[in-house]
């Protein structure tokens, strides 16, 4: 079990967060080794990554023993970098500098979020305790690191939180993760014969492939703009930039 803590970057920096630490301790003593990693931002939020085998029991414990009665949401994350990049590699994007290869490489090297992750897919859920007004984000890795993407499954939460029913159906169709013990696991939004799992990173966003963003064929040549003098202490902040004077070159503006 490894713990990471980042400082809350607020004005009133909360050094310690006793309520959340006590909660973390209580959950730690209940689940022991099943807790893989935690991440605490004092005064703001708590992340716990739990062993997938203990996933269903976590819901029982949190709802009945810790009074996390409010089921907020459940979803998943696909940590694979998108093979399609950001789909912004049109000529216009290169011109405005939106495509930065170094940055894309950095992004690929970036980790797997707060409380870490060892597998491509992760399940994320959030519950609330309304008497202490605490929220808690839970994560669990799905499958082994090299499990096939077709046979992913984890325990259901519907026995404790019936509201998880639709959320799990959504994850099932969008990520192809099945939930053991779910009362009626079928597609939620998509037609029954739809193939593929749209929110997976390797599912292409066809709209972007059919027509490159932002639609280079639609771009009309801009009217010539007069050279604007750079403001003295402009830096690169938008707040200090003066309001744009209307261009007198454009005949439409002067009408």
């Amino acid at each position: 079990m490894t713990d990471t803590t980042t400082e809350a970057p607020d004005d009133e920096v909360v050094e310690t967060d006793e309520a959340r630490e006590a909660l973390l301790e209580a959950i730690g003593s209940e689940f022991g080794d099943a807790i893989i990693e935690t991440h605490l931002v004092p005064g703001r939020d708590l992340w716990i990554r739990i062993d997938p085998a203990a996933w269903a029991d976590t819901a029982t414990y949190l709802r009945n023993r810790q009074r996390f009665r409010f089921f907020n949401w459940l979803s998943a994350i696909d940590w694979m970098p998108s093979p399609f990049g950001r789909s912004m590699d049109s000529e216009v994007d290169k011109l405005v500098g939106a495509v930065d290869e170094e940055e894309a490489a950095e992004e690929e090297e970036a980790g797997t979020g707060y409380a870490g992750g060892a597998t491509r897919f992760q399940i994320v859920a959030r519950v609330h305790n309304l008497s202490t007004l605490q929220g808690l984000t839970l994560k669990a890795d799905i499958g082994d690191a090299d499990a096939s993407a077709e046979s992913l499954s984890i325990g259901t939460w519907t026995h404790e939180y019936p509201g998880a029913n639709w959320h799990e159906r959504e994850v099932y169709e969008m990520y192809g993760i099945s939930f053991e013990g779910h009362p009626g696991l079928r597609k939620l939004y998509l037609p029954g014969d739809f193939e593929g799992h749209p929110l997976r990173k390797d599912f292409p966003l066809l709209a972007r492939i059919v027509k490159p963003w932002p639609g280079i064929v639609d771009v009309e040549p801009m009217p010539e703009l007069p050279e604007k003098p750079e403001p003295a202490a402009a830096g690169d902040t938008a707040a200090e930039a003066p309001a744009d004077a209307p261009s007198t070159e454009n005949p439409e503006d002067t009408q």
């Binding site: 970057p9 004005d11 939020d45 992340w47 709802r63 009665r69 409010f70 089921f71 907020n72 949401w73 979803s75 994350i77 696909d78 998108s82 950001r86 789909s87 912004m88 500098g97 939106a98 940055e103 894309a104 950095e106 992004e107 970036a110 980790g111 979020g113 707060y114 994320v124 959030r126 309304l130 007004l133 929220g135 984000t137 404790e160 939180y161 019936p162 509201g163 029913n165 639709w166 959320h167 969008m174 939620l188 939004y189 998509l190 037609p191 749209p198 929110l199 599912f203 966003l205 972007r208 963003w213 690169d236 902040t237 938008a238 707040a239 200090e240």
Partner: protein
């Protein structure tokens, strides 16, 4: 309150008797009734497949997806400022309110805070979006019960608020006005006085609804004791907003966790109702509009001076991290879980929309109700299909 519990008990006994009668007299296989996809009780296109035994619903299965637009996928290929254009359209009746939690989440990741004036104006527009949204509900509920008049008053008086939203932001329904670090523009001259005047129409409208619907015998008979949601069931289904407050849960994020908004600077009250029925949901929303008017009136008097934008880089790059911010939107709790890997685009955006969770209770809630009550219950839960399908 005794009258209510008596009435509830009577309704229970009547339902029991009806159960027995239906089961004995009509041993039917059950008939399937399609409600929707086009139905005025659903703000959008929702289909409910109800299996009926006589007039009673045995099983109800909502089918959505007719309006699924895949915003979570689309957000992954857009830069942060571009995302607000999309999310405006989630709950289209309270559009400015959709932008705020996303912007707050991005600000939290970037570690910047909007200046006080921007936070103040954000709160004003947020509450005006709530007024515009809930006003329509207050009138629309009458339509579902056969009273067509209230909705015309609702459209008439909501227009005053929409005009003010348009005057400030340029858009009646899709303002796209919130920016990371502040707001797009300052308020136009004379806006404060005009807005105060428009709020007067809303106060009058609320009183009118009080006279027309609350206390009306038909309205009360059709809503009291119908569609009762106990507090614990509501919470485990993730119901939020007025739906959960109508079940007696005293929880409002505006009071309990006002991140980045100016609710702590004004004096107002969170209303709850112990009954948990359709009437309670209507009543709580009626009081909420009145409270929103109070909030906006107080905020309009105390707008601080100063800039409306913090110092924000021209090209917005969000450092690596994860943030979840939720606010009390007109329909309930709306939150964005934003995962950033650094760079121009969010890596993953999970949109927690209020109606999705509010609606997920319907298979449980509609079981055993009568067909005419299905419409009332759906209307009183108050959902926008764009907020379910995203």
């Amino acid at each position: 309150m005794t009258a209510v519990s008596d009435r509830r008990q009577l309704a229970y006994i009547a339902a029991q008797a009806a159960d027995a009668r239906v089961n004995v007299e009509l041993e039917a296989e059950g008939m399937t009734l399609n409600i929707g996809p086009q139905h005025p009780a659903t703000h959008g296109t929702l289909r409910i497949v109800a299996r009926l035994d006589g007039e009673q619903v045995i099983e109800a299965d909502p089918i959505m997806g007719y309006m699924h637009r895949g915003y979570e996928k689309l957000a992954e290929v857009r830069t942060y400022p571009q995302v607000t254009t999309l999310i405006n359209r989630i709950d289209w009746l309270g559009s400015f309110a959709n932008e705020v939690p996303f912007i707050l989440a991005a600000e939290q990741l970037m570690d910047i805070e909007a200046p006080p004036r921007a936070q103040h104006i954000r709160t004003i527009l947020f509450e005006m979006a709530r007024i515009a949204n809930l006003t329509l509900f207050l009138g629309d509920m009458g339509v579902q019960l056969g009273a067509v008049t209230p909705v015309f008053y609702a459209f008439r008086d909501r227009e005053h608020i929409l005009n003010q939203i348009e005057a400030a932001t340029g858009g009646r329904f899709h303002p796209n006005f919130d920016r990371i670090g502040g707001l797009k523009d300052d308020l136009p001259a004379g806006w404060v006085a005009e807005t105060k005047e428009s709020l007067g129409h809303i106060t009058k409208f609320c009183n009118l609804m009080d006279d027309l619907l609350i206390g009306n015998e038909i309205f009360e008979a059709r809503t009291r004791g119908i569609g009762v949601v106990p507090a614990d069931v509501a919470l485990s289904y993730g119901l939020s907003g007025a739906n959960v407050r109508a079940s007696g849960v005293d929880w409002d994020l505006r009071r309990d966790n006002p991140v980045g908004l100016a609710y702590d600077k004004v004096d107002w009250k969170v209303w709850t109702h112990p009954d948990g029925d359709s009437f309670a949901r209507y009543w709580v929303r009626l009081q909420e509009v009145r409270e929103s008017v109070k909030i906006v009136e107080q905020l309009l008097d105390t707008i601080p001076s100063g800039p409306i934008m913090a110092k924000v880089p021209r090209i917005i790059k969000v450092p690596e991290g994860e943030a979840y911010v939720e606010t009390e939107n007109p329909l309930g709790v709306m939150g964005y879980y934003v995962v950033s890997k650094g760079g121009l685009n969010p890596f993953r955006v999970k949109i927690r929309s209020a109606s999705f969770s509010n609606m997920s209770i319907t298979p449980w809630l509609l079981k055993g109700t009568y067909v005419p009550d299905v419409i009332t219950i759906l209307a009183s839960l108050y959902f926008i299909l764009g907020d379910i399908d995203r």
